[in-house]
């Protein structure tokens, strides 16, 4: 398979990347990092791009740091680097739980945290994680830098709040290593692609008496973009997370989703899986929280 000809540049700095982005008409240029989504699309000639700007070699987009109650991961960090980071493992286990289920070892070796989020594939795993732990997505553009909350980031099918001239530089994941906190990512993989037919990221914080202080549920795969299941979350607050409570709350997990459908799984089945997997993810997260 051969892509149409395109130009390629690998800038060494963020400033250089921003300049390259602006030097081309909008729609003619695209950023690439690991290339795990874009390159197949180009080779299949399902998309044509005149110019690729490879951001994977920009130092500002690398590094994993602790900033107190969160972990900041550079956008060009590969899945492999994230999974093997002791800091991420300790403070943001949900990232590990999800990323270790992305694709296969080859994909994880090249694919990047920022690339996945910026691409906003409706079946990507990380958007659900970003939503569940209130991630902040940091972007730099011609007029400076800004921080976008995950809940405002995923706009529609493969559409984010990023502006065409902006570069996603880092993602800050809220830490979930406090006492009585627990997370889980439960996924029904497409058996061929490995993408999420439905993926549910759950984060649960319990009170000292075991009742639910807060529950966050991020859902990916089922609809056209990742969303929070606010109805489920509200139904759990203040309650004991027993089987009956979870079942009742998760009955509404698919409400409001703009469900997708394909030959493998209909919208109806995706909605069903959303309810089942939301319950499983919350139960796992609650069990972890109860032990911490």
């Amino acid at each position: 398979m051969f892509a149409k000809d395109f130009s390629y540049a690998a800038p060494a700095s963020l400033a250089e990347a921003l300049a390259l982005l602006q030097s081309q008409p909008e729609g003619e240029v695209k950023l690439v990092a690991g290339g795990q989504s874009l390159i197949p699309l180009l080779k299949l000639r399902m998309t044509e791009i005149g110019a690729l700007v490879d951001v994977s070699k920009i130092p500002e987009l690398h590094g994993i740091t602790d900033d107190g109650d969160g972990v900041v991961i550079g956008a060009a960090t590969t899945y492999f680097q994230a999974v093997n980071s002791p800091l991420v493992q300790k403070r943001c286990p949900l990232v590990i739980q999800a990323v270790s289920q992305v694709g296969d070892p080859q994909v994880r070796a090249r694919g990047t945290i920022g690339g996945s989020l910026a691409h906003a594939d409706p079946a990507g795993d990380l958007p659900a994680v970003a939503l569940a732990v209130d991630a902040e997505l940091r972007a730099t553009g011609p007029s400076g830098s800004r921080s976008i909350p995950a809940t405002a980031f995923f706009v529609d099918l493969m559409t984010t709040a990023l502006q065409p001239a902006e570069v996603l530089t880092a993602v800050r994941f809220h830490a979930t290593d406090a006492p009585h906190a627990g997370t889980a990512y439960v996924k029904h993989r497409h058996p061929a692609s490995g993408y999420a037919i439905v993926g549910v990221a759950a984060a649960v914080w319990l009170n000292d008496d075991g009742t639910c202080r807060a529950a966050h549920v991020g859902i990916t795969g089922a609809g056209t973009h990742a969303t929070r299941a606010a109805g489920v979350e509200q139904a759990l607050t203040g309650k004991r997370l027993d089987d009956a409570t979870l079942t009742a709350a998760c009955a509404n997990a698919a409400d409001g989703l703009d469900l997708m459908s394909d030959p493998y799984a209909s919208g109806e089945y995706r909605a069903h899986l959303t309810r089942v997997l939301a319950k499983r993810a919350l139960a796992q997260a609650a069990a972890t929280a109860a032990q911490r």
């Binding site: 398979m1 051969f2 149409k4 000809d5 299949l44 000639r45 029904h188 497409h190 058996p191 061929a192 692609s193 394909d262 030959p263 493998y264 799984a265 209909s266 089945y269 069903h272 899986l273 089942v276």
Partner: protein, 791 residues
């Protein structure tokens, strides 16, 4: 080697070091001086008339050497032939042009080709060809194609009917008239994509001076390809040399002769330069054959006590848009004759209708007709067992052909040469602890969990085939095999085979067999295959025939080598041949242990020919042309244990037991590997794989992102074991193992899932058993059961 005998030892495959270190020589690895690259423009429509094609822009593109359309080939190339002309079936073979003349009939049908300096340029130029299509109505399923008023594909095939083939034996009407029980069912064998790891590829090199064609090609049967190339291109057969050494899998998809092969030859001849064509994976999905795609309506007559008495089958097969090389034989002969399976049913009728549709042509895919047959009879056995309330094991025991009844002539008129179905069943039941499992199943059901146990007691027909049978079935060729065994002056051995192993490991097993017989190290034996310039003739590798037929030919040639060597040894030892014994590579005079000659010494003396006996010709080389007297009939029992997730419908295979009887085993490790691969593909059909067309004739599962080829994490540990009932009619006792796993496994999985869900009243789920399909079946069963209050 620390083994006492090569024959029967798990010698590591000699093919693997080169293949897994990237040192194999696949067709796409071939680079010839001046070589050009070909790309094919394929129809984006399932059915359309071509009103006009404008190739001017493509021809003007830098690096493009030539662009051809169907019009350029007319009168210069014959249509792609069909080579299995089943008799007495009113078979229609519409012209299959390598590039469409005026109508495209499936997405992927060739429309034009570009020859360019490099493959990327050839691909770019495809986008510069303007084709004006007039879309025509599309029909993709055989049932739609059979309907009145359906879109018609070919003027010379009214009603889209490619053939109607009939088979009957015994008194079927009487069996159903007298039946105490009749079980009816409709089964769908979904369409599958073979997905060999290496896609199709050809490098054609026409030598204008010698007027000879050299073609490297990824084919399972180079001599058949040579013949069909001659028929298509009118290049004399003696001027064509096919080379197909390393072939990256086939599963049947590399039996046919394809338009791409013919086009590469045409372009090379026209331009006088070598031309390479390698399809990409997307092209492979639409332009390489598909498999299965058969709908059957089945009725089984039986007695209340579970005795099967009659069987009636109506099969509708989807042939695709044209008849591929072996296609008509697959859903007819290869399917119908083995449908009665392991059972003593003597009244049987089968009607097979083949239909043209706007889909990729179908042809042989691993098992080719026999998986469909085994699935049908083994699913029916379970349905009958449920109907008469017998255990699936007992219904099988009741109807098995008894071990003392062989040779046994079946309702399919096959003469099963040997078998012991009880023994294989007993072994599998013991391995899985059947009684214990049934108890565990009952306990789990109390907890609302769905454990299921599925049996498949299969028999297959392979070792294709007596050539007279091939002829009677309309196969346009023989199915014998030649072999040459040549012992060089240094004692090294070259074995030539007309089969063409492409993953099955016969470079190793044939070397083991010859090394064992001649008493030379296995490393001293080379197996040469896949070169029509070196090997006089051959019919290729498919139908689990390579070792049974090709191997027996090699065995016979080796026996002849030993006979000649013995005469020469006797001459040199001044003894009578009758006084010599041959053991571990040495001819010894009985009673005089000091008087001996090694096979290597004899080989040297034969090759220099200084002192030959009166009348003996020089050299130590023998050839045979072996035609088998019967098919072979591997059999066995596979048992699959599954648990179904009550919430999601996901099927998890807990255990998989494969007890196979493939006759005498030359290399147990290779046999295990063949079983593993076959079972993986059978599980793939049961749970994952499905080629789906939309209404416009687009293959919507046309990539590995949508079409699930199972990977290692989706296949359970396969517990293999064997019984050994040697084939009585060939010298080696081997039967064949290339297809058993695929033939045996699919229904074991489906039977297990249905068994798991039988408390819900579920008796069938259509393949593939995806989580959604299973969930829907469970939900529907629960809904229909709800009014009575009983789940």
């Amino acid at each position: 080697m620390s083994v006492t005998r090569l024959f029967g030892a798990s010698v590591k495959r000699r093919e693997d070091p080169r293949l897994i270190t990237g040192r194999g020589a696949y067709t796409d690895d071939i680079k010839l001086p001046g070589m050009l690259h070909m790309a094919v423009l394929r129809s984006p429509y399932g059915h359309a008339r071509i009103k006009a094609i404008d190739t001017a822009k493509a021809k003007a593109h830098p690096g493009v050497r030539a662009v051809y359309t169907g019009a350029d080939l007319l009168g210069r190339m014959n249509p792609i032939p069909c080579a299995w002309l089943i008799p007495d079936s009113d078979l229609k073979v519409p012209a299959y042009h390598a590039l469409a003349k005026d109508t495209v009939r499936f997405t992927g049908d060739g429309v034009a080709m570009v020859i360019a300096d490099d493959p990327a340029t050839a691909r770019d130029a495809l986008d510069l060809i303007d084709v004006d299509y007039e879309p025509l109505p599309v029909v993709t399923s055989q049932e739609q194609a059979a309907a009145t008023g359906a879109p018609q594909l070919h003027d010379d095939a009214p009603g889209n009917l490619a053939f109607h083939w009939k088979f009957a034996h015994g008194d079927v009407d009487a069996a159903f008239r007298d039946a105490e029980v009749v079980v009816k069912h409709r089964f769908v064998q979904q369409r599958l994509v073979p997905n060999a790891m290496e896609p199709r590829s050809a490098v054609a090199s026409w030598n204008p001076g010698a007027e000879e064609l050299l073609i490297y090609n990824t084919t399972q049967n180079p001599h058949i390809a040579r013949f069909l190339t001659a028929v298509t291109t009118s290049i004399p057969e003696n001027k064509i040399r096919y080379i197909a050494r390393d072939v990256g899998g086939g599963f049947g998809s590399k039996i046919p002769f394809y338009p791409g092969d013919a086009l590469a030859v045409f372009a090379s001849k026209d331009l006088g330069l070598p031309v390479k064509w390698t399809e990409d994976r997307r092209e492979n999905y639409v332009a390489t054959i598909h498999g299965r795609d058969q709908i059957t309506e089945v009725e089984m007559a039986a007695k209340r006590d579970g005795t099967m008495t009659g069987l009636r089958v109506k099969a509708l097969s989807n042939m695709g848009a044209y008849l591929s090389t072996a296609a008509p034989g697959v859903p007819t002969w290869l399917f119908a004759l083995i449908v009665p399976g392991c059972y003593t049913i003597q009244n049987y009728a089968c009607d097979v209708f083949g239909y043209f549709t706007n889909t990729t042509p179908t042809d042989a895919y691993r098992g080719a007709g026999r998986p469909e047959a085994a699935f049908l009879i083994e699913r029916m056995a379970d349905l009958l067992a449920a109907e008469v309330k017998m255990d699936p094991v007992e219904i099988r025991r009741k109807n098995f052909i008894p071990a003392d009844a062989f040779p046994y002539t079946t309702a399919g008129t096959l003469s099963y040469d040997s078998g012991n179905y009880q023994a294989a069943l007993d072994k599998a039941l013991a391995m899985v602890d059947y009684a214990g499992l049934r108890q565990k199943q009952a306990e789990l059901r109390q907890q609302g969990r769905y454990l299921g146990i599925g049996l498949s007691t299969y028999v297959e027909v392979c070792g294709l085939a007596p050539s007279a049978a091939a002829g009677a079935m309309g196969f346009q060729g023989g199915l014998w095999e030649p072999a040459t065994v040549r012992v060089l002056a240094t004692g090294k051995v070259v074995v030539l085979t007309g089969t063409n192993p492409h993953g099955q490991g016969e470079e190793t097993t044939f070397a083991q067999m010859v090394g064992d017989m001649l008493g030379v190290p296995v490393e001293d034996v080379d197996v040469v295959h896949g070169d029509t310039g070196a090997i006089p003739m051959g019919w290729g590798t498919y139908g689990s025939r390579t070792t049974a037929v090709g191997g027996t030919a090699i065995y016979k040639a080796t026996v002849k080598v030993i006979e000649k060597a013995k005469k020469l040894a006797a001459h040199l030892l001044e003894a009578s041949p009758d006084d010599l014994e041959f053991e571990q590579g040495s001819f010894r005079v009985k009673g005089s242990p000091g008087k001996a000659k090694t096979i290597q010494e004899i080989a040297l003396m034969a090759n220099v020919a200084w002192n030959m006996p009166e009348g003996m010709e020089p050299g130590l080389e023998e050839s045979t042309f072996h035609d088998p007297t019967n098919f072979t009939f591997p059999f066995g029992t596979h048992i699959c244990v599954v648990e179904v997730d009550a919430d999601t419908g996901e099927v998890k295979i807990e255990r998989y037991i494969a007890v196979d009887d493939v006759g005498v085993v030359i290399n147990p490790m290779i046999v295990d590997g063949q079983v593993h691969g076959g079972v993986a593909q059978g599980i793939g059909q049961a749970l994952y794989e499905h080629a789906i067309y939309d209404e416009g004739g687009n293959l919507i599962t046309g990539s590995m992102m949508d079409y699930t080829v199972p990977n290692a994490t989706q296949i359970p540990t396969i517990e293999t074991a064997r019984t050994e009932t040697p084939c009585p009619h060939n010298l080696t006792g081997v039967k064949g193992v290339g297809e058993t796993g695929t033939i045996a496994s699919t229904q074991a999985v489906v039977n297990a899932v249905v068994d798991a869900l039988s408390p819900l009243g579920i008796s069938d789920i259509e393949m593939p058993l995806t989580p959604e399909r299973v969930w829907r079946a469970m939900r529907a069963a629960q809904a229909s059961a709800a009014p009575t209050g009983q789940p």
